[in-house]
Amino acid sequence: MADTKSDYFVPHGSPWPIVASVSMFVMALGGALWLNGSDAGRTVLLLGLAGLTFMMFGWLGTVIRENIAGLYSGWVDRSFRQGMAWFIFSEVMFFFGFFGALFYARVLAVPWLGGDGIGEATNSLLWSGFESEWPTNGPGEIGGDAEGGFQTIGWSGLPLLNTALLLTSSVTITIAHHALKNNNRRLLNIGTLLTIVLGAVFLYVQAFEYVHAYQDLDLRLSTGIYGSTFFMLTGFHGAHVTLGVIMLVVTYIRILRGHFTPNEHFGFQAVSWYWHFVDVVWVCLFIFVYVL
């Protein structure tokens, strides 16, 4: 077996992590200044973002060069795989927090405000007349139109289309993965490109839906607990899809340059895992945010 100690690649020093840390600091500083109403905030934020982008090119470029130079054994590859898997687990837990907020609001907080169980006194003393319902923007009717009303997006229209788009894209990336394993570069090429297109269309539809919600339905981030959970969940998911599409584009460029072999293609696999992850999150969103 090739997996012996001597072939574990340990890099000797790298400038990229410190570039990453400094960029993160600049971004956080810019973000905080911006939220505090400072004019310089946005500029500083963008500067940090630029630094982070520069770091990504530098760091990942180094890794790709080392990979092509054959420095990575199967053993190193396994570290990358396990690392990616745990990273995705951390992302799952991040979404779990927001889903937790949704469940807590629907199952406990709103019914209590409506007088259920321990909320009897709360309801009669503070929010008398409020009846528990979902969707809701709360007893104070926060956000919404002039009368506090708002409409929601039904599941059977665009969200269903988006579900179909993402599920199909999961299939296309799997086809591409199998093609890569069988060294069918043409199919790999097509499968990856199709996945990118499906992802991009998904994002377009999502953006269209947001504009519709803001302009026609009076459904905004500020529309009570429904608007909060709806936009934060779908928004963070959309951000992850955007990141996934960027990763897929980079992967596609690498495919065009002849990277990845049937046996060694961690970069491709990591992106494909990530894509399946955003897909699964969407299915949960579709069920718990739109349908139920």
Binding site: V10, S14, A20, M24, A28, A32, W86, F87, M93, T229
Partner: protein, 523 residues
């Protein structure tokens, strides 16, 4: 300078001066960085604690205004948890785990550097808030809304700083897990791993599970304040109590993140100085896993007074009391390891024995707090303060100190000064009890926590506690002095250092060479 990608092995660091420390990918360098950073933060957080204790020496307002006092309690906690304790454990993990499992380095060396270097800028943001209009956050480290939303300009800085600290922890935890699962020397099966490695594996899993939830919770705080969401606003259908649920879903695993690695250290130290193998290795592994599992289903015991359905309180009371079972298994295993051992009391062993006794006191007061009817009386009193300081100071911090004394000769190549070590131990142990034991009585007499002033009947115990605080704080200067002396020189340490200790780290020379186990050791 670009990455050095060539394959030949250097004997020493790849660069010199500051650049070496900024760009290093060596687990020993990074471990040292973590430990030095942690020591600095320990002194910063300790100074804040002394400001708190000075104010509380007498009733009435003496030294600081109440708002600043609240900033101190909040910042003391954040600095000690995220700046002192967690980096100390990660530093120990960096130094020791590759040595203990026979790996050439951590699995992802560049990311290892990154997870350390996120910390200093994050703390620059956090500590910088002390000098901002409105001051640092003053609503307690638990950041409960709506109070915390009244923080001044500091608010987004705190949130982003915590995001960064969370990212650092997650990256560090991923690295540790992958190192343990993928980098063990041939023959080092899971059930042969030293317990420090086992406890860190489980801790890392807790970190990856819990830290992202904290990130979500503080993101909701941020959007509630700046983008008009209603997560914690009842008028919009949200609930401020919901924050407490999400926060403590992170917060309780976090408590075990702060203690499990210390359990691991104690499980290394006690067998060495008892000259016996650890009693009940398998039960130790199972107990640690059980504690980790239970830590996810006990969170609401921090919130028994917020108004929960009785069934909920009953559930969280029972699960909390279950934790006493695996913890008890550990305590008895340590005692059984010492039983009929040929014990010698060098400084690491002294700290370990004190850990077993004093942590148990903290554990028992925890059991008292787990009882719903009793907790309603104890809640938010100094009894709670006494409880968690017993598990965190003579618990977690004594664990770190025991580990540092135990492995220091391996790191520096010199024996530390045993006389200084013993003085450090006795002064710390005596003063930590003078500091925290009276707080139990204060709490049982209903002195509230996080208050700069108090009724006169609490005066004597507060005075005693403050004397203990200064004694304990000043004793730590002995520790710093001992460390400096040991790094600079001292009696040469042998390869084994101690009397026939178990573990791969005692097979490499002292100080451990810059690169170890480039060829796998046989286990």
């Amino acid at each position: 300078m670009s990455d050095t990608t060539h394959e030949e092995h250097h004997d020493g660091p790849h660069a010199s001066g500051m650049w070496r420390w900024l760009t290093t990918t060596n687990h020993k360098d990074i471990g040292t960085l973590y430990l030095v950073f942690s020591l600095i933060m320990f002194l910063v957080g300790g100074t804040m604690a002394l400001i708190i204790r000075t104010e509380l020496f007498q009733p009435g307002l003496q030294l600081v205004d109440p708002h600043f006092f609240n900033q101190m309690t909040t910042m003391h906690a954040l600095v000690m948890i995220f700046g002192a304790l967690m980096p100390a454990f990660v530093g120990l993990a960096n130094w020791q785990i590759p040595l203990m499992v026979g790996a050439p380095d951590m699995a992802l060396p560049r990311m290892n550097n990154w997870s350390f270097w996120i910390l200093p800028p994050a703390f620059l943001l956090l500590l910088g808030t002390l000098f901002m209009p409105g001051g640092a956050p003053a609503g307690g480290w638990t950041l409960y809304p709506p109070l915390i939303l009244q923080t001044g300009d500091a608010f987004p800085f705190v949130v982003f700083s915590l995001h960064m600290l969370g990212a650092s922890s997650i990256l560090g935890a991923i690295n540790i897990i992958v190192t343990i699962t993928n980098m063990r020397a041939p023959g080092m099966g899971f059930m042969k791993m030293p317990l420090f490695v086992w406890t860190w594996l489980i801790t890392a899993y807790l970190l990856i599970g819990a830290m992202p939830v904290l990130a979500g919770a503080i993101t909701m705080l941020l959007t509630d304040r700046y983008f008009d969401t209603s997560f914690f606003l009842a008028a919009g259908g949200g609930d401020p109590v919901m924050f407490q649920h999400i926060f403590w879903f992170f917060g309780h695993p976090e408590v075990y993140i702060l203690i499990l690695p210390a359990f691991g250290i104690i499980s290394q130290v006690i067998p060495t100085f008892s000259r016996k193998p650890l009693f009940g290795y398998v039960s130790m592994v199972i107990a640690t896993s059980a504690i980790a599992f239970l830590s996810y289903v006990v969170w609401a015991h921090h919130m028994f007074t917020v108004g929960m359905p009785a069934a909920g309180m009953l559930f969280f009371m029972i699960t909390t009391m279950f934790i006493a079972v695996p913890t008890g298994v550990k305590i008895f295993n340590w005692l059984a390891t010492m039983w009929r051992g040929s014990i010698s009391f060098e400084t690491p062993m002294l700290f370990a024995v004190a850990f077993v006794i004093l942590f148990t006191i903290g554990g028992f007061s925890g059991l008292m707090l787990a009882l719903v009817p009793a907790d309603i009386e104890y809640h938010d009193t100094y009894f709670v303060v006494a409880h968690f300081h017993y598990v965190l100071v003579p618990g977690a911090i004594f664990g770190v100190i025991a580990g540092v004394y135990y492995w220091l000769p391996k790191w520096t190549g010199h024996m530390y000064n045993e006389t200084l070590g013993k003085w450090h131990f006795w002064l710390s142990t005596i003063f930590v009890n003078i500091l925290f034991f009276p707080q139990h009585f204060l709490g049982l007499a209903s002195m509230p926590r996080r208050i700069p002033d108090y009724s006169v009947q609490f005066t004597e115990f507060n005075m005693i506690s403050t004397v203990g605080a200064f004694g304990f704080g000043l004793s730590q200067l002995l520790f710093v002095w001992m460390l400096v002396k040991c790094v600079k020189g001292g009696e040469k340490a042998s390869t084994e250092v101690w009397d026939d200790p178990e573990g791969l780290e005692w097979t490499v020379p002292s100080p451990a060479p810059y690169h170890t186990f480039e060829t796998a050791p046989k286990v």
